[in-house]
Amino acid sequence: MYPAAFEYHAPGSVKEALDLLGKHKDDAKLLAGGHSLIPMMKLRLAQPKHLIDLRKISGLTGIKQDGNVLAIGAMTTHWDVESSQLVKSKLAVLSEVAALIGDPAVRNKGTIGGSVAHADPAADYPAAIIALGAEMVCEGAKGRRTVKVDDWFKGLMATAVGEDEILVEVRVPVLAAKTGAAYMKFPHPASRFAVVGVAAAVTLDGNGACSKASIGITGAGTKAVRAKGVEAGCTGKRLDAAAIEAAAQKAAEGVDVQADLQGSVEYKSHLCRVFAKRALTEAVKRAGG
């Protein structure tokens, strides 16, 4: 309940924050919403010597439409995303995902950047940003660079953000025409993290067949992954119940399923398939199919 001692910094700019990161390196952690980091510090599972709080840096919050992309500042809270009229009208699924994270108080402080950079294997956003084909904007001393979501999640709580970089923006394309997206989750009864969470975005062509399927799976493995097997099983097909069922069978492929109290490898793999089916079914419905 009493974290180890640390020094606290609240820089006023990204540059200041980067300088602090560069100075303290491994001894420093960035603090965004704090709802992943501070619990670990209270249990002394994390003991950073320096905490760099990003809350005073302007320009890191807010949701703007930039062409056909929603540009979301990394420090934008889950509640901001959940309640945003812009998100609800252009990318409703993202609002739905945000609404399922944690609980109302957690959503007031937790941030999309924190969630995506921390990459808890059971977090919700990672599945959604994979399915939606997001890009992450990182800023370092040398300037900004963009990382595609397929290059983002590297391993257990490891992402492409460099040690000397800060994630500053998440850019999520709005849904193309005739595209429906949905996120379905099986929550952990205690923590309400995703035991399994599947996000599916499906685009239909003129004949009602699936021209593109994009599926992200979180919860069961060590990191969120793209369900390539499911996607292949969808593309080019009319997605009736049987087709969805068949495609969903591949949902656990590529997921390094971790057994725990909530589920054996067998059960969690099964849940991947069930929720892939449910997410696809809803996505197809929303696409107008």
Partner: protein
């Protein structure tokens, strides 16, 4: 190394030098001396520490006091005005929405935000919005009733 923090709690200004690692809930309870906000767990599940900070419900156990520098905070002690209970407090009393009282302050502060955002919540919405608040005594039945009572007795929004 201690840092200065200044914040407004229930309309009163407080200034202290604190260690960065001091959690906001301990600042409120031990340094400021407002013990109505409670600590029930160490993993942010229970919600007994919920306060309103800059208009939003926040779990004070999951926040450092230094992060709250400049914030405007309302705790349970600040809800009743001039001795008059807030409708949420009254609702919990009318409908027996508490037994041991330990989860109650955090529960009431969560409901404060709930009714601001959803003035006429359905039972389903109420139960969903209570995900972050645990009660071991009431089985939630009367808490739902208390919130429904409060929703009906809230002053009309201007």
């Amino acid at each position: 190394m201690k840092l200065p923090v200044k914040m407004t709690i229930n309309g009163q200004s407080y200034s202290h030098e604190v260690e960065p690692r001091l959690l906001l809930v301990h600042y409120i309870r031990e340094t400021v001396g407002l013990t109505g906000t409670h600590v029930g767990c160490d993993t942010s599940q229970c919600g007994a520490c919920t306060i309103i900070m800059d208009g939003q419900a926040v779990k004070a156990c999951n926040f450092f006091a230094v992060q709250a520098d400049g914030a405007n905070i309302m705790t349970i002690e600040g809800l009743a005005k001039d001795g008059e209970l807030h409708p949420i407090q009254q609702g919990f009393w009318e409908k027996h929405g508490l037994q041991c009282g330990f989860c109650t302050p955090g529960m009431i502060m969560s409901v404060y935000q709930m009714l601001e955002r959803y003035p006429k919540p359905s039972e389903e919405l109420i139960r969903h919005q209570l995900e972050g608040n645990l009660c071991r005594c009431t089985g939630y039945h009367n808490i739902v009733k208390a919130i429904e009572w409060a929703a009906e007795h809230m002053p009309a929004k201007k």
